[in-house]
Symmetry: C2
Subunit: 347 residues, 2 copies
């Protein structure tokens, strides 16, 4: 039996763990009462500090997240975690049980961890992530950690949902910092060099500091130029998030950590806290909230429109798989068909 | 001056390099004549073997791609490359010039390389990639290599565009094969363990083979169960691509390579060729073509719908940034607004 929205809303606001879990399941199933509850919760959000933790696979992000949870709990702060991770039908998660490690916090009512498999959320990853962050925020969590794997487009979109972005790397990914591509460099507020006791860690730290200096030294094209070339509805240029002033002169610190032993965690957590203070002091937090609102809205709109269009497609042209078969047989072409359908829908 | 579509179409079909580059620029700019040319070219596509090469940053995918180009050229086959890579305004590409290495082939008319920065293509990465693959296919390339970084949702979507997927990893990414998450394991047709002369390469190969055995041993839930839980418009479950029979019993080989010296490249290329033959022999190629058509169509439809909706939003509610500011101020909520707009558009 599903709790009535009003009741559910009150319980989530009171920090009730079961109600929070129930709402997340309702949202997974796209139940109208789930969305309705989310709408009512929305005005109670905006309080939590949302921290994105991203980086290549194998960098130890989960262990680092685990350590950050402990750090915040030791200071009496409550923590929500959204872990975005490819899942598998046969393991139900990451193969080697990153998630399991975090279950140490499972009995702590001040911690709520939600794992979000990308497989079940294809086409709606940023929407799902945004919603889970809102729920955790509304449920009173002081800090929400969003852990994402990889350095692709998803991560940039998901990064739009965070106030502070921590990019984690490790020594020895290549012979150089190839692993830190420019796109990721630009969204980082704090760098963590994890497995910092490994050979090559000094060099990785030095290389990152060099890249940060290079970024500072190089003149960017005027933002208008960039915005004009941005496709409609695409998130703003990640660099533009900084409002042209790198959040009031904020320069990403590079922190060396060893997540398995806990070394460097205090420094990393404090760097994140300092960034939070800098956001508040410079007004950058407001700009990031707007960027987050924009990303959430566009992700929702995209999903909603596509669902409506595909429903109509099925009524008028047949099941998507049949349409795909006709395209594959070159009986029709996807551009003409998408155009025609969009025109009819939006006439 | 832009060439008339008919003329451009004929020149692309004849393999004219300048016409091909021109069409790609037109598509970047979303010129109607570019789309029109693409529609006319479409029925001439479907001949090229499309190979996706994916894996974490620093795995040496570009060098490997470079070697594969050389391998095919030595056999008289023409090659197209689409490299999907985060870019930066100050380097115009990957920081350490992966792309530059590939410029060795710049003077060879049998090779066409196109780099696709994710930054300029946010929201349309799979659409752009699909289009570039179609152009290269129509221009007569025998093989099209699509190189993508990371293991996120993008890669799974882009993987839908390929006939054969090569997942590249390297030893030492972690203490285990954590780097190969389950989602990627499922889409791989061939595994490359690059930097295979490094310490730990034996273990990485062994671990991968163990995972492949595990995958074979574990019973999957019936496909129907899975499809029911798939969100509308999401690409089919990657595992379902295999039509329940792993492409007629195809088991992903694990090939050790050292891209910098060329060791193992022949074996890797032959494994890819064998997979191609297996696709043809089992009819799996047809299923993958349908999946590719579906992914292309849905990506186009999504983009087209969103563009139309945002144009109407601007006319009726104000600029997207103003709307985002109102959401950030909690004056309205994104769910209600997206819903209302979608309903009005699709009434």
């Amino acid at each position: 039996m599903i709790a009535a929205p009003r009741h559910l809303v009150d319980r989530v606001l009171a920090g009730d763990v079961r109600a929070t879990a129930q709402l997340m399941r309702d949202l997974d199933d796209r139940l109208p009462e789930g969305i309705e509850a989310l709408r009512r919760l929305f005005r109670h959000t905006g309080r939590a500090h949302v921290v994105g933790i991203t980086g290549p696979p194998g960098a130890g992000k989960s262990t680092l997240t685990d350590r950050l949870i402990g750090w915040h709990r030791a200071r009496g702060r409550t923590v929500g975690v959204v872990a975005v991770d490819p899942t598998s039908p046969f393991t139900g998660g990451a193969i080697l049980g990153d998630r399991i490690r975090m279950q140490d916090h499972a009995t702590d009512p001040g911690v709520f961890i939600r794992s979000l498999g990308t497989r079940g959320h294809l086409g709606g990853l940023s929407r799902s992530t945004a919603e889970l962050v809102h729920v955790l925020d509304a449920s009173g969590k002081d800090v929400v950690l969003v852990e994402t794997v990889g350095v692709g487009q998803d991560e940039v979109e998901i990064a739009e949902l965070a106030h502070t972005i921590v990019v984690v790397t490790v020594p020895g990914l290549g012979d150089d910092v190839q692993a830190i591509k420019a796109g990721v460099l630009e969204i980082a507020d704090v760098f963590g060099v994890n497995k910092g006791d490994r050979e090559g860690a000094d060099r990785t730290v030095r290389d990152l500091q060099g890249l940060i200096e290079l970024r500072r030294a190089v003149q960017r094209p005027p933002p208008d130029h960039d915005l004009q070339h941005r496709p409609v509805g695409a998130p703003a240029d990640p660099a533009a998030r900084r409002g042209g002033g790198d959040a009031g002169g904020w320069e990403p610190p590079v922190v060396r950590t060893v997540a398995t032993t806990g070394a460097g965690i205090d420094e990393l957590a404090q760097a994140i806290d300092r960034h939070r203070a800098s956001l508040d002091a410079t007004g950058e937090r407001g700009r990031r909230e707007a960027s987050r609102a924009r990303a959430t809205f566009v992700a929702l709109l995209r999903e909603r429109l596509l669902a409506g269009a595909l429903a109509r497609l099925e009524r008028e042209l047949g099941h998507l798989d049949e349409v795909a078969a006709r395209i594959a047989a070159r009986e029709t072409d996807p551009w003409g068909l998408a155009d025609e359908l969009a025109r009819r829908l939006q006439a």
